[in-house]
């Protein structure tokens, strides 16, 4: 059985490592083979970008060599896929090589699309790339006072990020002793301050206590960079001195170019995690069009289901498990406190009060991630 994993991010790496352990006997007996194709020889811990944007981590702390994270029996190539030939069970890579498979796993992730909004790319800071996070920190460091506006694109990776960034901004300017010179304005796309109702109920009094202003039903339409005004498709305007953006995301360009899904999101069965119409193609992480959070956590729990099912297909010819929509997200709440949101398709999150021990657990997880992505945690 030839298993081909396309994408070396969180989801793809956990799938490959989990499978390598489940199928160690079959791999030794040459009855199964796992190959991974990735666009990069490095693996980034993406949640760490938030800390880079506030000067709390250095960019080089976010990376490991991808090959060092993989079980030795996994064949790894830095050679991104350019063409998916699903009807022939083959892909073609940038180098021109053709790889055949029996089962394909697509975990190519997502990318920011600030250019979708006129003026946003040049007018706003963002922490969703290494370069952006460093630039954002320098902008924050130089900021001496005025109005900081936060805007949120739809859809976006890490739904908790808008409130976490807002709490972090409050803490950062407080620590610098200029909080009284900074007006914080939070703009959010739907009609409460977070998509999860319980997070919104919890965050609202926190915002009130911190003096954070907020406006809801604010979907960015245009940024007037010269006059420093951000305009919403709902008709309102917000004048700022510093604009922070959580930009709209799309799936990867290769997915769109191959016609696998609009805006790069692949239509996926929410329980089986197979691509609609292709039972031997699994999709996970940001790449799916599922109505679940685009987070490493979702990718992790999906990866465990995908690996369990592919292994059972190899061993007994049928999948055995279903994804229940599980997501677990840490929420950094400022003042060295954190809480978490855990939910699935059937059960909404029941938010607990933020506390310091959960913050230190999150700080520990920032290091434990490398154990997690190896499929050990």
């Amino acid at each position: 059985m030839r298993i081909l994993v396309v994408g070396g991010g969180c989801g793809g790496t956990i799938v490959a490592n989990n499978l390598a352990r489940r199928l160690s006997g079959e791999i030794r007996a040459r009855k199964a083979k796992i190959t991974m194709l990735s666009a990069s020889d490095r693996h980034m811990y993406q949640p760490g970008l938030l800390y880079v944007a506030f000067g709390q981590m250095m960019p080089d702390e976010l990376y490991r060599d991808q090959a060092s994270l993989l079980e030795s029996c996994i064949e790894f190539h830095v050679d991104p896929v350019e063409q998916f030939m699903l009807d022939q069970n083959q892909v073609k890579t940038k180098s021109g090589k053709v790889y055949s498979y029996d089962i394909l796993v697509i975990a190519t992730g997502s990318r920011i699309m600030p250019r979708k909004i006129p003026g946003l790319e040049e007018g706003a800071e963002t922490c969703y790339t290494e370069q952006g996070a460093v630039k954002m920190f320098k902008a924050l460091r130089e900021f001496q006072g005025g109005k900081v506006s936060i805007v949120v694109g739809v859809p976006h990776k890490c739904p908790i990020a808008p409130v976490e960034i807002t709490f972090a901004l409050h803490d950062y300017f407080t620590a610098r002793g200029i909080r009284d010179k900074v007006q914080l304005k939070y703009n959010y796309p739907i009609n409460r301050i977070h998509s999860i109702e319980n997070v919104a109920k919890w965050a609202k009094p926190e915002f009130d206590r911190m003096g954070v202003e907020y406006e809801t039903l604010f979907n960015v339409e245009e940024v007037d960079v010269e006059n420093k005004i951000v305009k919403s498709m709902e008709g309102s305007e917000d004048k700022y001195d510093l604009l922070i953006s959580i930009p709209e995301h799309h799936g990867m360009e290769v997915i769109e170019k191959n016609g696998l899904g609009q805006d790069g999101w692949i239509p996926t069965d929410r329980f089986q995690l197979t691509m609609e119409g292709h039972d031997n193609v699994y999709v996970l992480g940001d790449t799916t069009n599922l109505p679940v959070s685009k987070t490493g956590s979702a990718a992790h729990f999906e990866a465990e289901v995908v690996a369990e099912n592919i292994a059972s297909i190899v061993k007994i010819g049928t999948p055995v498990s279903e994804y229940d929509g599980k997501v677990y997200c840490f929420i950094e709440a400022g003042h060295d406190r954190a809480t978490y949101a855990m939910f699935n398709y059937e059960n909404p999150p029941d938010l607990k009060a933020a506390n310091k021990s959960m913050h230190w657990f999150k700080m520990s997880y920032n290091k434990m991630y490398w154990t997690s992505v190896r499929g050990l945690l």
């Binding site: 796309p189 739907i190 709209e248 109505p291 909404p348």
Partner: protein, 76 residues
């Protein structure tokens, strides 16, 4: 007129039904009809509020077997 696009946001808490609708509304062409399926009762109020504020068109809203079926048309 193009066919109705179904958005299945049943049993979803994050990003949630309205956020799903906004995502698909961006992908749609003017004149397209979208039907949002949601098990969240708040959706029945949240969607019309956004649709009216941004200037799209509400087509219908009804609850069938505990699922809200909310049809909207992209107007601009």
């Amino acid at each position: 007129m193009s066919e109705t696009k179904i958005i299945d946001a049943r049993n979803t808490y994050c990003p949630g039904p309205l956020m799903e609708l906004i995502t698909y509304m961006k992908q749609a062409d003017v004149g397209d009809t979208l039907e949002l399926l949601s098990t969240d009762n708040g959706t029945a109020d949240d969607v019309p509020e956004w649709i009216n504020k941004v200037g799209h068109e509400m087509v219908s809203s009804e609850k069938i077997d505990e699922v809200w079926h909310i049809k909207v048309r992209k107007a601009k």
